[in-house]
Symmetry: C2
Amino acid sequence: VVNASQLPDSGFSGALVVVTGGLGFIGSNTVRRLHDAGATVRVVDSLVEGHGGDRRNLAGLSGLDIEVLVADIGDEAVGDYLEGVDVIFNLAGQVSHQASMRDPAKDMALNAMSHCRLLETLRRVNRRARVVHASTRQVYGRALRLPVDESHPANPIDVNGVAKLAGEQLHMVYAHAYEMALSSLRLTNVYGPRQHLLSDELGFLPVFFRRALTNQPIEIFGDGEQRRDCLFVDDVVDALFHATSDAAAGRVYNVGHDQDYSLAELAEIIVRRSASTGGLRLTPWPPEHQRIDIGSFRSDSSLIAAELGWKAQTNLVDGVDQTIEFYRANPWYLSSI
Amino acid sequence: VVNASQLPDSGFSGALVVVTGGLGFIGSNTVRRLHDAGATVRVVDSLVEGHGGDRRNLAGLSGLDIEVLVADIGDEAVGDYLEGVDVIFNLAGQVSHQASMRDPAKDMALNAMSHCRLLETLRRVNRRARVVHASTRQVYGRALRLPVDESHPANPIDVNGVAKLAGEQLHMVYAHAYEMALSSLRLTNVYGPRQHLLSDELGFLPVFFRRALTNQPIEIFGDGEQRRDCLFVDDVVDALFHATSDAAAGRVYNVGHDQDYSLAELAEIIVRRSASTGGLRLTPWPPEHQRIDIGSFRSDSSLIAAELGWKAQTNLVDGVDQTIEFYRANPWYLSSI
């Protein structure tokens, strides 16, 4: 149904699509775009506490078109949801590096075992579905060279990276052993509307936005000179759509931004664009962060550009402005109640 | 206690050592060498059906020195066994590629989740133990170049390879995050005494030996031209002992043999040395094997030679002769009763 040479959104009109993790950050943005493109959308989300899944992320959508199943993707019951589906965006997972070190078995369960069971269910009920899995640049660990392309060794330095890599590789095993159209995208740091801002453990970007929008100082660990490429969530949804094309079957792609910034620069931009009175301050590394810090990172996304025609479209300042505007209009994201 | 510059066995006199999977093939050979070297040995083995764990593999050892706990390595109860231990040879796992595709969740549980729980237990009760984990060359998938060194990408093509890689990488995460002396060895095809010969799913070498020793034809899939390096189990035990040295902490090493053979050559050698009347025959690929076949493979073990001083000592014909002699003297390995 979807072809890389078409504008990606157009291919989803009339399609039946499942989004796992569809109540979360990237998931809910994906559901919204699919809905606008005319797809019938089913959501599977286990609403794991503290990980950003929230029914309010789908507020305002017509309830008639979107079914929501609250379940782990590894549950047997999910099989009924997958039959006859055209496309599955498999975005369910745990993203916290710190939580993965505090409770490794839980991270392995959510990011690897549940995906193993989902794939086995899918093999049984629907081998023809196109599946795009959300992996992470965390699978690389510390970069041996910059930018990092897909041939860079995957040596994860925290349990989250190990579990996400296993989840990604399981998709590739099924793609090749059973000729299923599965792909996986190694996403860099993502920001934008509908991110869970209240945890300190879901990446630095939501923390930066929360503190700036509440006029608290942004704390930067160490000297703030580590560099990152950051991606606006709309660009991620574009990449997910592109990865449903035939050419993506059995392939793993980096999805990042050509432009990188130091953490101090990122904080300054967010402070300035939000006119935060909190500013920023440098603070020593907490040991539980430092032991799993990867240093500087920048993705090389030229493979997905060459093979699928995707490239990030949103520059940082535009993305930051859209993000700030969204949270100002939806202040519950900043409220702990 | 153990130093790479010493003869490895001498360092184990008086040491307290745990061998997980110690009732299995490589495990029982390790237990015997440790016992001979004067170590006090504790075994943890879950005796998973069909995977080669058998109390008879430790027959003839003095029962007083060797405790056996029948448990999954992820069980809480294992913690009591790990306190105060000097060295752990963490050899527990499932080795069948076919079984991993039939029951992926079980393979992930045995090769990844249980190791995750074991490491978490170990972090809690004994961070000073030296641990050597048995990984596999299966983590590489199909070789992009031969021989394969440790910088070759790890792109496993079956669930067993994914799960073993996750288990290996979890050891590395703990080694680096918590400064624990953990290492992992990617073993090539291993043969020798005390291997489970009666399953067709634990690698081709035990099948070749069983069929030759019972005068049945050895069946070779396809043209028999795929090449493999094969390692006698005594050489594996040597490598495990070397990997307890300080230099191995946080490191992953290939453990293979410089000399490779085609499967047809291997079968001919085993037929000839055993004087089997069954011979060998070529047969078409069964699809469940072909879809996860890796083609030719040869390990480059120069890293462990350079860093730890280990090198395979046993040539194929000597190893095959010792193996045949052992099974002729212990015929229950060939009996399904």
